[in-house]
């Protein structure tokens, strides 16, 4: 088990470095820079600015410098929000994204897994058909449709929930969390249903039935853990995406989360900000995939050998 973790980390570090360097290069070779504004800058001002941000050095030098700084936790100053460092911007917006994503993740897992398991137990019956149709519907609804729609229905027509971020408490998050969790819940429900239905057809379930074990005990003891393997493998990467900011939901509901900063940063060529988000996201992906691997080992010991 420890071996597995070490081995994963050994491959994770070079992957992470490669991702950072690649994104850095990609941003640099793109036409247009952060100072190509509406109004041309005087050549001296421009040179001074580029020197200040280290843009006058050669590309390999810039890459090395950047990677070195990142390793010490310094993502550099933001090129657009001039009064802030990137680290400050991330520190400000990340908690909001984490809260939003974390709550959505929990909600989606609870709804998705219970619906999926119920459907599998009723496989082929109308409850199964309806739940799976509903799950497909949920995965097919883009958040930029459901977000505004939920805001429209609950916020404006019924006037129940507050739709626009005021920054003073969790109640503002209710609608965004629901909107964000719906497609994930749909996907989880489908995977949980397929996983359990697959398990229920297995010989070891028949063997347990032959021993006269009660159906609910069979489900809990013999079928549940292996059935959740596909859910775990999906939730790993999905969690990383949810936690680092749901761009659309944050835009629709006006939440000052990481996702919005990323889009703004990308549009404004704010390299340090974009790179910081990419790095963060990639690290989270690697971390969550590792977590998913560990969970597999618990769900099904056959996977412990690596």
């Amino acid at each position: 088990m420890l071996n597995l973790i070490l081995r994963r980390l050994m491959t994770a570090i070079p992957t992470l470095l490669a991702i950072i360097m690649l994104s850095f290069l990609l941003m640099r070779i793109a036409p247009g820079g952060p100072f190509d504004g509406e109004r041309a800058l005087a050549p001296e001002t421009r040179a001074a600015l580029e020197a200040a941000y280290g843009l006058d050095k050669s590309l390999p030098e810039q890459v090395m410098l950047y990677v070195g700084n990142v390793l010490t936790g310094d993502f550099g100053p933001s090129l657009v929000y001039r009064d802030f460092t990137v680290t400050q911007l991330v520190a400000q917006s990340l908690p909001i994204s984490l809260l939003l994503g974390g709550l959505a993740l929990i909600l989606a897992s609870v709804i998705g897994i219970s619906a999926g398991l119920f459907a599998a137990l009723r496989a082929g019956k109308w409850q199964d058909e309806m739940l799976m149709l509903g799950a497909t519907l949920l995965t097919a609804l883009p958040t930029f449709v459901t977000g505004p729609l939920l805001a429209l229905i609950f916020g404006l027509w019924f006037g129940w929930l507050l739709v626009s971020w005021q920054g003073d408490g969790i109640r503002w998050l209710i609608l965004p969390v629901i909107a964000l969790s719906l497609p994930v819940a749909g996907a989880v429900a489908k995977l949980a249903r397929a996983g359990l239905a697959g398990q229920l057809g297995q010989d070891h379930i028949r063997a347990a039935r032959a021993r006269g074990i009660a159906p609910l005990t069979i489900l809990r003891r013999h079928a549940l853990r292996p059935a959740l393997v596909p859910v775990a493998s999906y939730l790993g990467p999905a969690a990383a995406g949810l936690l680092t900011g749901a761009v659309i939901i944050e835009t629709v509901f006006g939440l000052p989360g990481l996702g919005r900063y990323f889009v703004q940063g990308a549009l404004n060529r704010d390299y340090p900000l974009v790179l910081a988000v990419v790095t963060l996201y990639a690290s989270l992906i690697i971390l969550f995939n590792l977590a998913a691997d560990l969970i597999y080992g618990w769900l099904d010991p056959r996977m412990r050998q690596g």
Binding site: A123, T136, L141, P142, L149, L156, A197, G198, L267, V274
Partner: protein, 269 residues
């Protein structure tokens, strides 16, 4: 599987031929009726606040979204099938390196990469689908590789080798035809994915640019005026969701039928 595909075909046909029957195109402005209601002055769905015919915009938006999605999915199909087939067929070190690359690309923040690509390479509609296709091929490559690996172990492939069939002949005559069904299923599942990504990018202002329009742009515009005119959000949103759901349902059923996922569930009963 029929019904969802017929619905998608009907929408595609309407998007393709519909604009030819309308006296207005998606960008022309009718100065006499700005913000017209339903059926006003011959505008079946009314006009937006610039006086553009909503029906024309909806049809053209659908057309753009669907053609971009199809093109991107085809790009993904070609890259994915070639990559997966080569990795699975050659095997060994080659397979390991090729699949490591796929794993690495999976770990990249997908949405971010698309956004980066859009920002880096400008906002041409051609690049939109090229960029999306270049990112969406990963699943296809994995699936095709898995199928090829499984087929490679089947005795009929060994029998072909014993009969003197060369590697490339076996790949083309025996392996790929057996992969085709699953590849088509995943193509059907890729199209809705791309529809979603394209709309998402357009929603952020990174995809299709004015004066052209797409379902994502229309949803975005609709969301802004939904409090006074919900139809502006519901119509493009409805078309978008219908296309996605129908293709997803059809693709999933085809996939389950070909890979036997559904059968396991049935025999459980």
């Amino acid at each position: 599987m029929r019904a969802p595909l017929i619905i998608v075909a009907a929408i595609a046909l309407a998007a393709l031929l519909g604009p030819l029957l309308l006296p207005w195109d998606h960008a022309s402005i009718d100065w006499d009726s700005v913000r017209a209601g339903l059926f006003a002055d011959g505008h079946l769905l009314g006009t937006d606040d610039l006086g553009r015919d909503r029906l024309a915009r909806l049809l053209v938006g659908t057309r753009i979204t669907m053609s971009v999605a199809l093109a991107a999915a085809l790009v993904a199909l070609v890259i994915g099938v070639v990559w997966g087939a080569v990795a699975g067929w050659v095997g060994g070190r080659t397979d390991e390196v090729m699949m490591r690359i796929v794993d690495g690309l999976y770990a990249l923040p997908f949405m971010f990469v698309v956004i980066l690509l859009m920002v880096v390479f400008g906002r041409s509609i051609f690049l939109v689908f090229l960029g999306i296709g270049a990112v969406e091929w990963l699943t296809m490559a994995r699936v095709v590789r898995g199928e090829v690996m499984a087929l490679k172990q089947r005795p009929f492939v060994l029998a072909a080798e014993a009969a003197g069939s060369s590697g490339s002949r076996t790949l083309i005559r025996h392996i790929l035809p057996n992969v085709a069904g699953v590849a088509v299923a995943y193509l059907m599942l890729t199209v809705p994915q791309v529809v979603m990504v394209e709309s998402f990018l357009s929603f952020l202002g990174l995809g299709v640019q004015e004066p052209l329009t797409s379902l994502g742009i229309l949803v975005n515009e609709g969301a802004e005026e939904m409090d006074v005119n919900p139809a502006a959000l519901l119509l493009p949103g409805g078309v978008l969701v219908t296309v996605i759901i129908c293709l997803t349902l059809a693709g999933e059923r085809l996939r389950d039928r070909l890979t036997g996922t559904g059968r396991a569930a049935e025999s459980a009963q």
